[in-house]
Amino acid sequence: MTRPTTSRSDVAEPLDPAEEPLADDAAARPARWRRALPILLATGIFLVLWQVVSWSGWKPEYLLPGPTVVLGELARLASEPSFWVALGRTLTRAVVGFALAVAIGTAIGLATARSRLLRSAIGSLVTGLQTMPSVVWFPLAILLMGLGEQAIMFVVVLGAAPSVANGVLTGVDQVPPAYHRLGDVLGARGWTLYRHIIIPAALPSYVAGLSQGWAFAWRSLMAGELLVVIPGAIALGNRLSFAQEFGDAAGLMAYMIVILVVGMLADTAFSAAARRLRERRGLATPAERRA
């Protein structure tokens, strides 16, 4: 069995029939490693740079602590069970709130996308709501929900649902007209058209857009957790603001790293899902297929 090769000389020179094919190594290396390596490399470079800046004494330690200090702080946090409890509580809220936001946002998005009337009536309103800072919902949240878990959920849902709804609208708008026409010809109208054609067609774009909704949910949650302390239930947002209140730069950075890691994991999940969807349809980009 010969090695697979492809050669294209870009000079317009006729092929000499006696020429030997060039060997070209395209053997597959373990994909998982190849994907993880750059992340580790980037992290390493970043840590080294950070340490150098920190050693240079450009800013005092209490303003810009070095990575060893911050990572030490992170290790200390990680060794406290209360940290994990707080993280767990916040993650639970994030997941529940996001799930609610996805359900509500998707419903609103679909309703808005389906009905031309609703679309023009409240399409822009949805985005308008999205630009509303979480903090302005507090009075309403307290008024309607009281000071408790529900108030936090309220803020999270109001923060994230419009983004999810917008994702639905964007996805639906980008469904190629050929599919609409096909649906029409197949006799799919109204909800049937959506169920069988528009929603599946919009799915990859919708799933990719969920990471935006997640970001809104998470940010709203951090804001919401400042509002409400539920007795016996300190969450990540409280701890973060406590670190900030105390000017505890190392602690703040440690919490930032936690937030970052959670965000990156969520993104990895969403983009993997979107990639899988595209792959099943033969729509993966060449880079994705190679990876």
């Binding site: 307290i142 209140e245 105390f246 000017g247 505890d248």
Partner: protein, 316 residues
């Protein structure tokens, strides 16, 4: 660069700064030494703290808690208290029906922020009453930190039973039907404790003592104005708050808040040390070594100015 940046909060407990800025005293005094003032209003404690630590402002009006925290976080390198400003102006206001501390068992009380000045005062006081309150809101009394305005609304809608808040929020709670259970002044010797101090960055003190001196003169001028004509000073405060926030503070609220505060140049060092000890006792002091805050105060310039005015000196 001949600018001096001065930071303060647009709130009544920072009245001397509001008066000094509103009457143009900072500008006048700094002009005498060939400098000019840029004033900035902070919106939240952590930002003020960070601005002081980073040296983004030269001189700031701060609560005792951020001052102590800045001192501890920077191992004493980033902040010096150069004068006192305000005492008093914080109360525990509760709903009718709570007549004495024993009635608080099971109650939900708000404070502005976990570990802030009022939060520690409440926790310390509760401990003295034999009531427990954990950091996470558990215990005999549930302490629920939340933004001041949210606390007022939560009180109005019956979500909380009371709150230990600074002015003008304490007065607003009273207007919303609350009654004062504890006026914090009653807990301190002489009724005086630190609410606002004036701090400077040590670099500014070292490089431009004359500018710091000028700001202190303006500060003392403002205190004198407040002393001489409280009503006029209150109007200036109200006008300045409106200018900075676009909101009108209700005159009645302002008047009632005013009654709970004292203004003076004494930084009340003893009270500040006590407050830090209280925080330490309830476990809400940054976990850093401190030397009994030996370097926190730098009152030489203040005492010079007081002497020039024939006023008694203050001590750290």
């Amino acid at each position: 660069d001949d600018g001096v940046s001065i930071g303060y909060f647009p709130t009544v407990t920072h009245a001397p700064a509001l008066v000094a800025d509103g009457e143009g005293l900072f500008d006048d005094r700094l002009a005498e030494v060939g400098a000019n003032a840029t004033t900035q209003s902070f919106r939240a404690g952590p930002e003020a703290l960070q601005a002081v630590l980073a040296g983004s402002v030269d001189i700031a009006y701060l609560g005792p808690n951020p001052a102590v925290t800045a001192y501890l976080q920077s191992s004493g390198d980033a902040v010096r208290v150069i004068a006192g400003s305000t005492s008093g102006g914080a109360s525990l206001v509760v709903r009718p029906g709570i007549e004495d501390p024993a009635d608080l068992r099971g109650a939900r009380l708000a404070t502005p922020q976990l570990g802030n000045t009022q939060d520690i005062a409440l926790r310390h006081w509760l401990t003295a009453q034999g009531l427990t309150a954990t950091e996470d809101g558990g215990g005999d009394v549930h302490v629920l930190p939340q933004p001041n305005s949210a606390a007022v609304q939560a009180f109005r809608t019956g979500q909380i039973d009371g709150a230990w808040l600074p002015e003008p929020f304490a007065s607003r709670l009273v207007e919303a039907g609350g009654r004062v259970l504890v006026d914090e002044r009653d807990l301190w010797p002489g009724g005086r404790f630190v609410t606002t101090t004036v701090v400077a960055h040590p670099d500014v003190l070292a490089e431009h003592p004359e500018r710091v001196q000028a700001v202190l003169e303006a500060h003392l001028d403002a205190l004198a104005l407040i002393d001489d004509d409280p009503a006029a000073a209150r109007d200036t405060v109200a006008a300045q708050i409106t200018a900075l926030t676009g909101q009108d503070l209700d005159p009645a609220t302002l008047a009632s808040a005013w009654e709970t505060m004292d203004f003076g140049p004494d930084p009340l060092a003893g009270a500040l040390r006590d407050a830090a000890a209280h925080a330490d006792a309830v476990g809400l002091l940054p976990d850093k070594p401190h030397d009994d805050f030996a370097r926190l105060w730098d009152l030489a310039l203040l005492n010079d100015a007081l002497a020039a005015r024939g006023l008694p000196a203050v001590a750290a």
